[in-house]
């Protein structure tokens, strides 16, 4: 059963140096503040996993928590590049960043296999793409009925998956709705699960489009209102489009970036 705890205690207990950590969220419900807590606790050598790494991963990479990124699209949506991600890959600053790069279809199916506790998933994908040759988690398999060759991707089973959701009840059952992305699969694929929520309620009344993750598949729930900013939580917050644009100049320059992170993330006054 999930424990209701503080974000600081949850990260301290669940995220360790060297872990494979997925902070999932498909433009909606991105667990940004959980990422900031991981930065504050100075985790190192993490393998970060996410289909769509954006600002919070740019920040984590720029602060040196990651040694590897497993992903399928790494950009600032509607704005452009992730400059800290590029600096790490192109110049090894602040530390070199290894990448395992997939398509969305491949990454989604890696989580599906992980959630199903299968070693791999089958899809029609990567045919003719240079991606296949560069990843040891992309292979092929032959259909035993038709003889057809298909793509295979290795299961993704993070040590820890972190997501942000709208609500939890006091027993730690979690409810999220709107664009659901790959969060259910990422949660069910992981050994440990941390969920930050906008609100803790007595009763999770049914909602259209909502999924419920039972308390017994979640390790810890932390009450973190606004925890997805600059992303959003449908029904609670709206996407801060201006911040995505503002991030571009902040992140272009190492010094500007470091100063911003120091003031806005490391600043003890902001520690949860």
């Amino acid at each position: 059963m999930a424990e209701l705890t503080s974000l600081r205690e949850a990260v301290a207990g669940l995220v360790h140096d060297g872990d494979t950590v997925a902070l999932e969220g498909f433009t909606h419900l991105i667990p940004t503040l959980a990422g900031h807590e991981i930065i504050r606790q100075e985790r190192r050598d993490l393998t970060l996993v996410r289909m769509t790494p954006d600002l919070v991963y740019d920040q984590m990479i720029g602060m040196g928590v990651a040694r590897k990124l497993v992903f399928s699209w790494g950009g600032n949506p509607g704005v452009g590049s992730l400059h800290r991600f590029r600096d790490a890959v192109e110049n090894g600053w602040p530390v070199p960043l290894e990448v395992d790069e997939h398509s969305h279809a491949g990454m989604a199916n890696r989580y599906v296999a992980g959630a199903s506790r299968l070693p791999f998933a089958v899809l029609r994908g990567y045919q003719g793409s240079s991606l296949a040759a560069r990843s040891d988690t992309i292979g092929t398999v032959i259909c035993p009925f038709t003889g057809e060759q298909l793509a295979a991707v290795a299961a993704m089973n993070p040590d820890v998956t972190v997501i942000h959701a709208q609500r939890a009840d006091r027993s730690g059952n979690v409810q999220l709705w709107g664009i659901l992305g790959v969060q259910k699969e990422a949660v069910l694929a992981a050994a440990r699960v941390l969920v930050t929520v906008e609100e803790v309620v007595d009763e999770l009344d049914p909602r259209p489009g909502a999924v419920v993750l039972p308390s017994w598949v979640v390790t810890a729930v932390a009450h973190v209102p606004g925890g997805a900013h600059p992303s959003y939580a449908a029904g609670y917050t709206t996407r801060d489009n201006a911040f995505y644009s503002a991030w571009d100049p902040i992140s272009r320059d190492r010094e500007t970036f470091t100063a911003w992170m120091t003031e806005h993330v490391l600043d003890p006054a902001r520690v949860s």
Partner: protein, 263 residues
């Protein structure tokens, strides 16, 4: 606007969006990438194809946004969709299953066979330039009934040789899609701010088939990084109509207002 554009009364980007929207006139469903493709698809819903079903990789099926989304996960896409499904489902049950008539893609680089690079670009004496990566493009390019590509025309984009093939168009030419088991028809049109390229029926090499009004074949040749094949009779794209321009500008103005407010 340039002097030419002021004279014409519309910009080359507007011509590109209008031509792209016209290319969607016949489609039932379109799997939409963000940016120029999303502009074109939403313009099509206001002009050539009001019933067009927009599918975004965030799992929103039948989205009907009033303003252009900044990301494929904007709340309005979910709020206005016929159905919102998880991301694994959108790729497995919908895209891979062949339920998308058109896949609409942008690109960082395109070669003469309509192959796309959105991953990385080699640079002399410097580390490779890192791009955002594949996203949904490789499987959109593989499974969509046909693929439309829209991108601004320049020698930086239309290159002789791709250092990295992220998404396959026609590979090295005729027959390669079949050899690779790619089920869709591949890129049937590349719509740029200068004109329209279409694959040669035999060789599959991209060929200039239309120039936008005021654009010469020579201009397009100069903006292309390989000796561009040119059709025997190059058409001139009909200029944007007042309705098309009105719909596009109204959409973009509403989008600017909304996203200013939203921030």
């Amino acid at each position: 606007m340039s002097a030419a554009e002021q004279e014409l009364g519309w910009s080359s980007d507007e011509m590109m969006a209008v031509a792209s929207a016209r290319a969607l006139a016949e489609a039932t469903t379109c799997f939409v990438g963000i940016g120029l493709p999303s502009t074109a698809a939403n313009l099509a819903r206001r002009t050539t194809n009001p019933g067009l079903v927009l599918i975004y990789e965030s799992g929103t099926i039948g989205a009907k946004p009033q303003v252009l989304p900044l990301s494929i996960g904007d709340g309005e896409l979910a709020d206005t969709a016929d159905a919102v499904v998880p991301v694994p489902e959108i790729f497995n049950y919908w895209l891979q299953a062949g339920r998308c008539d058109v896949g609409f893609l942008g690109a960082a680089q395109v070669d003469r066979f309509g192959n796309i690079n959105t991953t990385l670009i080699g640079r002399d004496g410097r580390p490779d330039l890192r791009l955002p990566g594949a996203g949904g493009a490789p499987e959109i390019a593989a499974h969509a009934g046909k693929v439309l590509i829209t991108v601004r025309h320049s020698t930086r984009v239309f290159v002789e040789q791709l250092g990295f093939v992220t998404s396959v168009g026609f590979g090295q030419g005729d027959g390669d899609r079949e050899r690779l088991g790619l089920r869709g028809a591949g890129p049937t049109q590349v719509l740029t701010d200068l004109g329209v390229l279409e694959p040669d029926p035999d060789s599959r090499e991209l060929t200039l088939t239309a120039c936008h009004p005021g654009v010469t074949v020579e201009q397009v040749r100069e903006a292309t990084g390989w000796p561009l094949k040119v059709a025997d009779d190059v058409a001139t794209t009909p200029a944007p109509t007042a309705d098309e321009l009105g719909a596009l500008r109204e959409l973009q103005e509403r989008t600017r207002k909304a996203h200013r407010a939203g921030s």
